[in-house]
Amino acid sequence: MADFYQSGVIVTLHKLGRPSLEKIESEIFEFSKQRPIALVLPALYAEFKADALKGIVEELKKVKYINEIVLSLGRATDDEFKKAKEFMSVLPHDVKIIHNEGKRVKEIYATLERNGLQPGEDGKGRSTWMAYGYVIANGKSDVIALHDCDIVTYNREMLARLCYPVVNPNIDVAFCKGYYSRITDRMHGRVTRLLITPLVRSLQKLVGFHPFLVFLDSFRYSLAGEFCMVTDLARVMRIPWDWGLEVGVLAEVFRNYSARRVCQVDIADNYEHKHQPLSAEDAQKGLMRMCVDISKSIFRILAAEGIVFSDSLFKSLEVAYMRQAEDTMLKYEADAAINSLVFDRHEEAKAVEAFANAIKQAAQIFIENPMGTPLIPNWNRVGSAIPGIFDMLKKAVEEDNK
């Protein structure tokens, strides 16, 4: 992205010219003495068999400024956990793996549940939340950076650019989200392009000016899974454990900080992650579920912000969304043409139809039960409900990692 236009209410940090990785890394290294950084990596055991993680580990070996790495491992047996530990042991950092399926961490989930603090179902939301809990319990890091473990095009510049705005006291940003374009021979990222942006813009048309909608629309890639934040935010954040996670995080950032302290940063020229091999039907189901969760999450946040959702509003929303999405599609068609990219109009149109369907479903679910998905309680609340929870969590992770 070669422009330097500031769009929206948040700060946008572009990639301009040829920034020196060496230089910002050495700066981060200095800053991180004051504000130590924890890197949180949510991963499934299946990812240990793929190449992406190998590449990530190789890159991370060269990163000096990370204080601790917390890998939150899902769907792994005890044996697999051991293998994962071995795999990660090549890193020179203080690496801790949270064994979410292990007896100790499971017991922690059970403790939360019996005290009425539902941590939700297994998934990325819950396991990253647990990782934040460990970082808080350990008390050694003031900044948390997070990215997925399936990035094929991983480059340590991503991490550096992600951390820089938060650790640099002169920028003093509380939350920094990554953005990038996802292009092969075509454009990817359909959910962001054709669901979220048109949905948010049509909502803006219907309900008028609303600070949260403006805020959400300011993000160039609101579903990007890469971000960096101050640990304090992790304490007060209440996030959904379903697919509404990313949007939920943005809502919590909006609630707790002014837009001035929020930024997005261009972290990569190109970004590709490993596609989960799924059958077409499953993929459809999975995608559908994701879109429903995201739409629901947006409705819930707006309702909490005081917007009243009625049947008629939802009806007009469906129409407005269709129109908005079609307009957007035209823009991308032109964009694809000039860049000689493949553009399958039929596929895109089918996606829009599916998304419209998802919005409809989400509206229905929302009207039936506005409190839909319960959020994971924030760590402050958990800490005051169960006084010893942080000690327990720390002990559990340390014992597992012995």
């Binding site: 017991e107 059970a110 006084p387 929870i389 327990m392």
Partner: protein, 232 residues
């Protein structure tokens, strides 16, 4: 000849007689121990029921008891853990009763001593638990009071009091337990006296300046009018 055979078989007969006398004891022991296992198992079930009914786990979580168990790397539910302890206590008691049923002099001594110790051990444990709670309570009270009066070494003071109290309680518990009482008292006097003396010296030597400063500060405060606002 008869005599000789008698002589030869007498030991066997004796053995048989004592075996015959002993076997019922052995059976009694086995029976007692077996029923002990059964009763222990039942007691554990019963307690687990009770624990579930009173939401014991949640209570443990809130009271911080769970956190203490976890420190020992025990990751079962608190009620399971305490259920197991109850089970073990029952087993030990029945083992002891069973062994005493053997009526062997050495084991008899052992078991009678065990039962003699039981109440002492329990009361020692009781003293430890109550004492631990009291020490924590007193130390916290002192800490808060010291902070509120602006004393600079509040935590040190509170910790010192806590350590002293715990030493005192440990000595009391050991004394109750009856392990070499003379040694315990001597050791306690030495340790307690030592701590007090070293504290006194530490405060004396290290604290002269501080004490001077505190007194000077007090005097100064007296001079300059203390802030007089009404809090209520």
């Amino acid at each position: 000849m008869d005599n000789f055979i008698n002589l030869l078989f007498q030991p066997f007969r004796n053995f048989w007689a004592s075996l015959a006398a002993f076997l019922p004891n052995l059976f009694a022991m086995l029976l007692i121990i077996l029923s002990g296992f059964l009763i222990a198992w039942l007691a554990r079930k019963l307690f687990l029921r009770l624990f579930t009914a009173i939401n014991f786990d949640v209570w443990c979580d809130k009271a911080g008891l769970t956190a203490i168990i976890r420190k020992g790397d025990i990751w079962t539910r608190p009620s399971d853990f305490f259920g197991r302890i109850i089970y073990l206590i029952f087993i030990i008691i029945f083992l002891m009763i069973g062994l005493s049923a053997l009526r062997l002099p050495t084991i008899g001594n052992l078991t009678s001593q065990f039962f003699l110790y039981m109440p002492r051990a329990l009361s020692a444990l009781f003293i430890l638990i109550i004492g631990y709670i009291i020490a924590g309570f007193v130390a916290r009270g002192i800490l808060i009071a010291a902070v509120n009066s602006g004393y600079h070494y509040a935590k040190l003071l509170a910790e010192a009091v806590r350590v002293l109290l715990i030493v005192l309680i440990l000595a009391m518990a050991l004394e109750q337990f009856g392990i070499a009482p003379g040694v315990v008292i001597a050791a306690f006097s030495i340790i307690f006296g030592g701590i007090v003396l070293s504290l006194a010296i530490a405060f004396g030597v290290g604290g002269i300046d501080t004490a001077k400063r505190i007194i000077e500060k007090r005097l100064e405060e007296k001079k300059e009018e203390k802030g007089n606002i009404e809090h209520l």
